[in-house]
């Protein structure tokens, strides 16, 4: 290889190094501008998701009663429940409500299934509770004569008085009204057993009038419910196997009617009638058409945060973040000089990537999450600091700045790896065990570890290696920029003045 070739290959290498820097920085700027647009544009597809403590709103926790349900079916039922409540919540116009199922983890003794409802912007809990409470619980239960006898033995109950009503070719169950006293009794005392047919199989509900179907004179409002295909099959099976028995229709635990099954019904529709007036019936039909609860639920805890406070907390948090960031940047620049500047760019990239992840994953930002993120700004430079310290040693021992950087990365790797893997393992465990709030923190924590590793190993490295190559012995301004400490003037003075911090100076 002659001299010219060598020169061109060196030139092309240098070009390649700078090309990489341009690509990396270009990508970061592109990500940054996307984040900025998403954060500021009014109709952005992926805006930041603010938690209730920043946006204000209500947080409700319901407990589902799963005692009468097969364990294997619980999770499916909970999903149905979630969908129903979600539909319910959506109709009262809250922006981005969150409805999610939370199971108590396997570490606690009692297995409970919870439904967490978050309503940003709704600061009146009673309103929210009422709205959700309007979702009816619909259950179909079979009359059990044995149970009835037992109950009768226990207390003298009102008798079931069947009053054969209407029937039709369409397969609508004929209406049987019950003794008034019995209806007022609590659900537990009624001699009915679960059939598994509940609101989960409900497809539509419609208001009709009894007269239209049967030619009866009374124009009683009734509600026709149509089951899903699955529900139709179940309904057909129940009716086929229990001809002659009474099928109780329960709404929110109250017995509405108990028609006798006269024949197997394959059409997949049933009628609820129980002496409703027009307004009641219309409301019920409406409520049912949004879905009926497959399980009884009970409100366990509520939380509200005023909306104006959330905005204030957010503003203060962002301000603290900006100040913290500025201080870290200044420190890094003063102490590590040129590499410190590179670390600053890497830190800004870290912030950009994290914010992009917050938007796209998406991560719901809470006050705690924000605080965690601000602190991570201080910790994220750790990998850089580790590398720079190793680099400093090599540089002082006579390697060129570029060689020192390469060796520094190699040597610092095991410390970065072990430190970050243990932190990452902790994050995974916290995510696994934690309640929803701890989970959010663990997610941000874990993401921060990965992104800060990426920013140090890829971004810092690319830029550091592209910098011009100098030796400490050159004594030029540039060579001094690769040293560290607060004093620029003289090596000896610098050493003395910084010796309280930098004891490794030989």
């Amino acid at each position: 290889m002659d001299k010219e070739d060598q020169q061109t290959s060196e030139q092309s290498q240098s070009f390649l190094r700078w090309f990489r820097v341009v690509v990396v920085i270009g990508l970061i700027i592109w990500v940054g501008s996307t984040v900025y647009q998403n954060a500021t544009a009014a109709d952005a597809e992926k805006p930041f998701k603010l938690g209730l403590d920043l946006a204000g709103g209500s947080h409700l926790v319901y407990v589902a009663d799963t005692t009468n349900v097969e364990p294997s079916e619980v999770s499916e039922l909970m999903n149905v429940l979630r969908d129903v409540i979600e539909r319910r919540v959506n109709i009262f116009g809250v922006s981005e409500p969150i409805v999610q199922v939370e199971s108590s983890s396997f570490v606690s003794d009692s297995k409970t299934e919870r439904l967490v409802v978050e309503l940003p912007g709704v600061t009146d809990v009673s309103e929210a509770v009422d709205e959700i409470g309007r979702t009816p619980l619909l259950e179909f239960k079979l009359y059990d004569p044995e149970l009835a006898q037992q109950l009768e033995a226990l207390s003298s109950l009102g008798s079931l008085d069947s009053d054969q009503g209407t029937s039709s070719a369409a397969g609508i169950v004929s209406n049987v009204s019950l003794n008034g006293e019995l209806v007022e009794d609590t659900e537990n005392e009624l001699p009915f057993t679960d059939t598994g047919l509940t609101g989960r199989y409900l497809e539509t509900a419609q208001l009709e009038f009894a007269g239209a179907n049967s030619g009866q004179l009374s124009n009683e409002p009734i509600i026709t419910v149509r089951f899903t295909p699955e529900g139709s099959d179940l309904f057909a099976e129940i009716t086929r196997n229990n001809v002659g028995r009474q099928l109780g229709i329960f709404l929110d635990g109250d017995l509405i009617s108990a028609p006798a099954i006269r024949e197997a019904i394959n059409g997949g529709t049933a009628v609820i009638s129980g002496g409703f007036d027009l307004i009641e019936a219309r409301e019920l039909a409406q409520n049912l058409s949004f879905g009926a609860l497959p399980l009884p639920i009970e409100l366990q805890s509520t939380q509200t945060i005023g909306a104006s406070l959330g905005a204030e907390v957010l503003e203060l948090g962002v301000r603290a973040g900006v100040v913290g960031l500025t201080l870290v940047l200044i420190f890094m620049l003063l102490w590590y000089r040129l590499p410190g500047l590179v670390a600053g760019v890497a830190l800004l990239s870290y912030i950009t990537i994290m914010l992009a992840l917050f938007q796209f994953v998406p991560v719901t930002l809470t006050a705690a999450g924000l605080a965690g993120f601000i602190i991570s700004l201080g910790m994220a430079v750790d990998a850089n600091v580790l590398v720079f310290e190793r680099m400093k040693e090599e540089y002082r021992n006579g390697l060129t700045s570029r060689e020192a950087a390469t060796v520094g990365f190699k040597r610092a790797w095991s410390a970065i790896r072990d430190g970050n893997i243990t932190s990452l393992l902790s994050a995974i465990i916290l995510f696994w065990f934690g309640t929803s709030m701890v989970k959010g923190f663990a997610l941000v924590f874990g993401m921060g570890i990965l992104v800060s590793m990426f920013s140090a190993l890829v971004i810092t490295r690319t830029m550091l290696i592209a910098l011009p190559e100098v030796k400490k012995s050159d004594g030029s301004l540039l060579s001094k920029l690769f040293c560290n400490g607060f004093n620029f003037k003289n090596k000896e003075v610098a050493k003395k003045s910084s010796s309280h911090l930098d004891n490794s100076t030989e």
């Binding site: 809990v125 366990q300 965690g372 700004l377 410390a415």
Partner: protein
């Protein structure tokens, strides 16, 4: 290296800190918030707030029992009261907010939280299990990552000491919280748990960086001895190492070489914590303060506890084996 030379002093300070922390926590206790105990917390803010006694009297008259009223400032800086009661029903909640809002000028319920006792109990369970899980995985990982580190102490020692250091680092902020709870009525909530978890991560990371350097220096300063032994007709090669420098010195150098990094990383972290404490608003100021104490403890322990403890342990073991061989 000063930390190794004067290790008795530093370890003594650490032992004293741990003892005092335990004493503080056991005497003053922790002020558990409703996140753990269950109950309701109502924050009511006023333009002109009424007397605390007035609030208490009115609530007692309305039939509330076992409540506590604490003066505070809401997030926008208005005077407010935090009223802690048992887990309230919907009716009781309405009743309570009606009463307190009327007491002062422009009263407003700015926050209401109600947590069932079951959730609080479960949170305690979960927090305990999470900490236990994290600690065990760290011991295992450190023991694994440092396996083959050889003489004079095994990799399990490093894992064990990482955990001891961790306990120190967690006790200090917990004791601080205990004092804050005693003096200002601050309550332990989920945020505190998160702060402790963050301290956990910081502490382990800090300790491991120092141990990593010890590992590297041990490998650089050892001599390999290969002995061939025949065992059951097979030739086996057994490799043993001897250190070319005293263990103490090797560890001391490692601490010294990582000192600048330990201090610089804690400076950048503490700077952001300070910003959060001073500017970040009341919600996260306790969080920042607790973490600050944790990071401070973590920095001290990674320099002045972790490595000195390894040296002390190895010296103690040497003595023991010497005594045994003498017998």
């Amino acid at each position: 290296m000063f930390a190794i030379t004067y290790r008795k002093i530093f370890l003594g300070i650490a032992a004293a800190v741990v003892l005092v922390s335990i004493l503080i926590i056991s005497v003053l206790g922790l002020n558990l918030g409703i996140d753990f105990t269950g109950g309701s917390l109502t924050e009511v803010a006023y333009q002109d707030s009424p007397d605390k006694e007035q609030v208490e009297v009115q609530l007692t008259e309305a039939g509330f029992t076992g409540f506590s009223v604490r003066a505070s400032v809401d997030d926008v800086g208005r005077d407010a009261y935090l009223i802690r009661t048992k887990d309230l029903t919907e009716l009781e909640r309405e009743n309570l907010s009606e009463i307190v809002v009327k007491l002062g000028n422009e009263g407003e319920v700015t926050r209401f939280t109600s947590i069932g006792p079951v959730i609080g109990e479960e949170l305690k369970d979960k927090a305990g299990w999470a900490v236990f899980g994290v600690v065990s995985i760290i011991v295992l990982y450190v023991a694994f990552a440092f396996s083959g580190i050889g003489t004079p102490v095994s990799s399990w020692t490093y894992g064990g000491i990482t955990i001891m250091v961790l306990i120190h680092d967690v006790l200090v902020p917990t004791a601080l919280m205990s004092v804050l709870g005693f003096a200002f009525g601050l309550e332990v909530d989920v945020l505190f748990v998160m702060a402790i978890l963050a301290v956990l991560g910081y502490s382990v990371n800090d300790t491991i960086v120092v141990f990593d350097r010890v590992r590297e220096n041990l490998q650089a300063n050892r001599q390999e001895h290969k002995i061939e032994i025949s065992e059951a007709g097979m030739m086996k090669e057994e490799v043993t190492y001897t250190l070319t420098k005293p263990y103490e010195e090797i560890v001391g150098t490692a601490v010294q070489e990582t000192l600048a990094r330990s201090i610089n990383t804690s400076i950048t972290t503490m700077v952001t914590l300070l910003a959060l404490y001073l500017i970040g608003g009341s919600v996260t100021s306790t969080f920042a303060l607790v973490l600050f104490a944790g990071v401070l403890a973590g920095t001290y322990s990674s320099i002045c506890i972790a490595s000195p403890l390894v040296v002390t342990y190895s010296a103690w073991r040497n003595k023991k084996t010497e005594l045994k061989s003498k017998e």
